[in-house]
């Protein structure tokens, strides 16, 4: 895989989403791709998480979070419990 690309393997509410993005892609672009691919409910209440840490703000790029190669992420609703 080219070093300027990142492959994401995302656990989502509707199963697994896999995609390869430029390392300069924004987090919001990855969320949008997963939402489109799996026909998830749209909205601004979903966030990507890596190793328990939310990838926010979503305008930041994949590489700015140190993501490289193939990474496993979770797509979850925002929030920290009730």
């Amino acid at each position: 895989m080219p070093v300027d690309e990142v492959t994401v393997e995302v656990g989502t509410p509707k199963g697994l989403f896999t995609g390869t993005f430029p390392k300069t892609a924004k987090i919001e672009d990855v969320i949008a791709a997963a939402v489109d691919s799996l026909d998830l409910d749209r909205g601004d209440t979903l966030e990507l998480v890596h190793d328990g840490q939310p990838l926010t703000p979503v305008q930041r790029t994949l590489v700015s979070f140190g993501l490289a190669g193939t990474v496993q992420l979770e797509l979850v609703a925002t929030g920290e419990g009730v």
């Binding site: 989502t12 509707k14 199963g15 998480v49 328990g52 979850v76 920290e80 419990g81 009730v82």
Partner: protein, 151 residues
Amino acid sequence: MATVTDRVFAEQFGHLREVAEHRGWPLKQIDGPGFELVLPARDGSRFGLKVMCDGYPGTPPAWRWWNPETGACDQPADTPRGSGYFHTSRRICAPWNRLAYSQVDPHGPHGDWQLSTWMTNPKTGRGTTLAAMALRITVELQSSRFQGRSG
């Protein structure tokens, strides 16, 4: 004839299985319908859950901390602490957990929620599928909020 519960469970369990198999999480379907699931925590340990889905999605699943070796449920040593979801009552505190409702479980922390409106409870958010619920628990176990076991 398949019931609504059968159909919804089959579809959503399939999504959960897809994620679990990819991540290497042990997952087994059981009668009820329901399932047993083991999830990894930030400290390298694992937590088991036994989940009963009878009546789903009319009522939310019952998520119970479970020891895969002994089969015991709700034991302090098998229950995580530290997140807002990991209530001191040893119940997962979310509208998508049937055991969070005090009218269902005397240990349930919430008497102010209505079971019949769990899907539209603002605190449910997008936690309306089995995979979404499991992913939320996983994120909490992996986060800096996780503080080990209750006992």
